[in-house]
Subunit: 515 residues, 2 copies
């Protein structure tokens, strides 16, 4: 997959303006994606796994799934040996799993800055920001509908965030741009304000095609055909329904060798049974059917086993996040994905809270920990998610992004080389001594401990003199600082111009639509 | 260990006043301690474990540990075969581990209400509240020195907290009571305001003896000699120093068959090497020496492998909590404890934040998750800890206590009985359907999902109309409600009177001391 750059890629930084911009640029550090050196936490026994896998096959064979308004899909399924009855597709035992076997166990998603390419799968964890909220919130302005300016600011924050590997997709919905045109501006922001990998549009097959076309400009058309440059989010309409819009977008991406996350979107108790085992059965059945279909469209296309699962508050009907049931499902789904030898998407800094307060952090931290230990390979919503996904929060974005550093360090595991063993320090200090000044500490303290760029460790008196600020207030300050320091990464002016022209032509070709 | 109750225990609820009190009591639910049905997370490889264990033996044999101002301990060590040089004790390879083998792998700690007995060890997790802070904080009064009234209120909150199994010990330092007398009032509060198990005093051997004497009144002297009714916290003066005060208290408890937690108290980088493997080596060496000594005092006395370990902010020197290094150490220490077949203490809702805000919750949730997955058997500081242990927070107490419910549910694991599999629901609902109304949901929704008593799941508009309160504000309201609803559990008036008399006599026998 690591092809040589195309001419378009080589010339990207070729212009004099680009070179000048690079010389004055603030150095932005991006951590390599997490390469786990720790085991996965496996909550399901071998017996439980076998039961769930057998039940998922029963669901596919006896209940089946619906492919709605999609005659092409029905034909592919019929030709593959499924029993098609109207829009219902019943898949003989074992067929879906067999079709899924052609999907790769991991793939490279290329960024326009090759240093920021990510490998999705294996022991890796790639973190991407919040996706989808129609609202934004910040400490100064409160909660309001998101606009394109917010979107751009989130992309800038993502670019500035060390522990975030991916620029994401719909970091918020820019509601001031017509629905049928906003994907163009969103892609443009990811392509020009950041140099990290990003996601394509899925709200219509034509918009998926626009995403591919714009990538052809950014990366070169030959490069795109041979390499994966987008990972896009295809939600299943759970339970067990694959609608034509999402499937249409997926077909575009698969045909162009671009990756998708095939992701059941489940609020347990509403779109799936109230039990964990039952939900896992449905998740697996949906993923098997969806990925099998993806591979029918193009065998070998990169695809991720997704599981966005949360539970419901049976009093209010509200979706709830960071719950123990959601963690159990995440751990179990990770095991099911690994047994299919597929990359796994789940997790995120998910919460139901209205504010970036203690509730938000408890809930988010539960899911972040589960995602790391549960073997997630691609974590959407890794920062910025608030209020059940209705709100992208500026303060929570930088708070969560800082917490992702905790995951990076934890994932390194425990070294036991001679220097790690520190027997010299133990001998030097001895009973009753103090380690701060010893040689081993002096040689190692700079890299020994994860360091926050966000949390407060000041003595109480200093903290009080500084205004006794809570975490939200500290985060608001960091948001301002990062946006002030932001400098756009260099982009070949010819490419920038071609992108602008593509967007202008597209926008001129159709009337505005706001629904 | 499950002896028949002594006459004193049988008569506890015998009085007419007690019976009347019971009839009008608010029913307080206490969950059974957590019995894990999930695996432990094991971060250390077999090779790493062997290296650390071998290194710990080297530390004991070649560097040794100090038993300060304790000729009796030195004699016991010499008689056991150690090399004693002044106060330095060098322990031949294997000797400490061999001495530790007489300690039980689990034990029952009895509560005065036998329904609230806890089994400490095995796959269990017992949760106890914050221990030690000199300050308290609440939303209304801010941060202030703790007084006995605060202490009593924390004991009441602990009694009312469903997911808290243990009343703890020094839930805050009652600074308005003389240092040499406050242990009497603290024990009295645990014995009379709650019926959950509790901890004894460790600040002086005479106060440990007072704790035993008061338990003799509460449980009956014969019962105490045959059963464990206290689990008390013995910190090691790390690195590798065992002071006479702590060891003196431990000796009292061991001789009386009462349990202690033998716990290195380590801020990594200051009291231990900056590396995880080095810190684990020191923790193991300290625990081996301390527990071996405990077993020299009384073979078979119940004792817990403790590890209170955090790291240091190398910029400010402040201790930090909820860090990835602390989690790695917790996971590793749990493995070391299990290989010694001993109960394990670590974890807690630890944080460095000054307020019960997002920082506090991120940090606490990291450690709560690590404690559950890392096999902790006794979790001190499970709720209420704030500001690096300087502050007991009323709001954080109820917030953390609610979060302990998350751990209870997660620990149950994933059931795969026929009802859990929910195949009837999947068949009934089918593609495109909705699960809320189906038979399986109706039959199971009441117990399907963990329910918070604390967090906010309201729709945004309702939440805004209700005052747009953050988690701290909701917690403040819950603290007030719980304290208003509190009713004292019944206690035999004869026992209550004997406790009062004991305390009055003790207080009259010595002058006040405030240092």
């Amino acid at each position: 997959m690591e092809n040589a750059p195309t001419p378009a890629r080589r010339s990207r930084h070729g212009g004099g303006a680009a070179r000048r911009a690079e010389r004055t640029a603030v150095k932005i550090e991006t951590a390599k994606y997490i390469e786990r050196n720790i085991p996965n936490f496996e909550i399901l026994t071998a017996e439980a796994l076998e039961i769930i896998e057998a039940n998922a096959e029963t669901v596919l064979a006896e209940i089946g799934v619906n492919f709605v308004n999609n005659p092409g899909a029905l034909k592919l399924w019929r030709d593959a040996g499924a029993d098609v009855d109207g829009e219902r597709v019943r898949i003989p035992r074992g067929l879906a799993r067999q079709l899924c076997a052609t999907a790769p166990s991991s793939y490279v998603q290329h960024a326009r800055n090759p240093a920021k390419n990510v490998v999705i799968g294996g022991k890796n964890l790639v973190c991407a920001p919040v996706y989808g909220p129609p609202f934004v919130r910040d400490a100064a302005g409160g909660r309001r509908y998101a606009v394109m300016e917010d979107f751009r600011n989130f992309v800038k924050l993502g670019y500035m965030s060390k522990w975030l590997h991916h620029s994401g997709g719909t970091v918020c919905e820019p509601t001031d741009i017509p629905v049928n045109k906003r994907h163009l501006d969103m892609l443009h922001a990811h392509m020009t304000l950041s140099d990290k990998p990003f996601m394509g549009s899925v709200t219509d097959p034509s918009r998926a095609q626009d995403s591919v076309d714009m990538c052809n400009i950014l990366f070169g058309a030959d490069f795109v055909q041979d390499n994966t440059v987008m990972t896009s989010l295809i939600n299943v309409n759970s339970p067990m329904t694959f609608d034509d819009v999402m499937m249409g977008a997926m077909e575009v991406y698969a045909r162009n060798n671009q990756a998708v996350i095939l992701s059941p979107f489940i609020v347990g108790g509403a779109m799936a049974p109230v039990s964990v085992a039952g939900t896992l059965t449905q998740v697996l059945a949906e993923v098997l059917a969806g990925i099998a279909y993806n591979q029918l469209v193009r065998p070998g296309a990169p695809v991720i086993f997704g599981a966005f699962v949360t539970s419901i508050d049976m009093n209010s009907g509200a979706p709830t996040f960071g719950t123990p049931e959601a963690s159990q499902i995440l751990y179990g789904a990770g095991q099911l994905a690994r047994r299919m030898n597929l990359p796994f998407r789940s997790g995120g800094a998910l919460c139901g809270s209205k504010l970036p307060d203690a509730q938000a952090a408890y809930e988010s931290a539960h899911t972040l920990n589960a995602a790391l230990l549960g073997g997630v390979n691609f974590m959407l919503h890794a920062c910025g998610w608030l209020e059940g996904g209705l709100v992208s929060s500026f303060e929570k974005f930088v708070l969560d992004a800082d917490q992702l550093g905790v995951l990076h360090k934890l994932a390194q595991g425990v070294g036991v080389e001679a220097n790690d063993q520190a027997m010299d320090a133990l001998a030097e200090v001895g009973p009753g001594g103090h380690y701060l000044g010893c040689a081993h500490t002096q040689a190692n303290f700079q890299s020994a401990f994860w360091r926050t760029e966000m949390l407060d460790y000041k003595p109480f008196e200093t903290w009080e003199e500084d205004g006794a600020r809570d975490t939200q207030a500290l985060a608001a300050q960091r948001v301002s600082q990062l946006l002030e320091r932001y400098q756009q990464p260099a982009l070949d002016p010819g490419i920038a111009e071609a992108l602008d022209r593509y967007i202008a032509d597209k926008k001129a070709s159709m009337p505005d639509a706001f629904t």
